[in-house]
């Protein structure tokens, strides 16, 4: 039977506030990676619904949308 022990039991660890930040950062990393690997589907929706969805976009999504619109307008 192996004798099991902890690692560096006297070292200082993160605070509760750090733990909250860790969970937020981890969720964000997972969300970004999911978005990268997420398959895309074409969906027919009313234009008004699309415009209301734009209101919920974050800055990165708005920048991506603007780039796409500018590419289409320049074509």
């Amino acid at each position: 039977m192996e004798q099991k022990s902890a690692h560096e039991p006297t070292e200082q660890v993160m605070s509760a506030s750090d733990v909250w930040s860790d969970a937020i950062q981890l969720a964000e990393v997972l969300r970004q990676n999911l978005r990268k690997s997420e398959p895309m589907v074409q969906l027919q929706i009313p234009f008004s619904l699309f415009l209301s969805a734009v209101e919920e976009f974050d800055r990165d999504e708005l920048v991506l949308l603007r780039r796409r619109v500018e590419e289409r307008l320049a074509a």
Binding site: S17, D22, A27, V29
Partner: protein, 190 residues
């Protein structure tokens, strides 16, 4: 015949010794597997795990646990990181060699292939050095908090798991555990 290129799916974690021991102590490795596609550890961290008696658990967890050997250049870089950790005011141990596990984990997380991944690291001084290098990180309690927020475990289970780690000598104090439990229960920062 040449192997086809490996297709990368999901988020990988580079893990230091401490958070992996916490996962083993609290039977939480399955949560790592739920959240991360692979968990990478350095050879120095593997040696630490064996010295702490977790060899069988490491073998059972491989894969998705993957042991990675650093290049000579990376080992040199890790030594400079270990020096920074040893000098950090939040650190209690001035011996550089004793920080090679954390330093190798940080160096591994700095690889381009891990740019979109996360480093699991609990020690305050090493976390500060990792953050200076721009590494995205979480401690073991942060992984448990995310597991509560995504419905994998309850807030009570989070508390039980951290208590089990503490009872086995891991450095999570009672006050920290209670604060993290309250955050998990109320889903807001304390």
């Amino acid at each position: 015949m040449a192997q086809p290129p490996k297709v990368r799916m999901g988020t990988y974690a580079v893990c230091n010794t401490g958070p992996l021991i916490s996962a083993f102590q609290s039977d939480s490795f399955w949560l790592f597997v739920q959240i991360f596609a692979e968990i990478h550890i350095s050879s120095v961290c593997t040696g630490e795990l064996i010295r702490h008696g977790w060899e069988t658990d490491v073998q059972t967890a491989t894969p998705p646990l993957v042991i990675v050997t650093l290049t000579t250049n990376e080992e040199q870089h890790a030594y400079t990181i270990a020096q920074q950790i040893a000098r950090h005011p939040a650190n209690n141990d001035p011996i550089i060699e004793n920080h090679m596990g954390e330093a190798q984990a940080i160096t591994l997380a700095l690889r381009a292939e891990h740019q979109g991944d996360v480093l699991l690291l609990d020690e305050l001084a090493a976390r500060a050095v990792a953050q200076q290098q721009g590494v995205k990180l979480s401690g073991f309690p942060g992984v448990l908090l995310l597991a509560v927020q995504t419905g994998l475990i309850t807030a009570e289970e989070l508390k039980r798991r951290l208590e089990r780690c503490r009872q086995q000598g891991t450095h999570y104090g009672s006050a920290l555990i209670q604060q993290v439990y309250e955050m998990a229960r109320q889903n807001r920062r304390q």
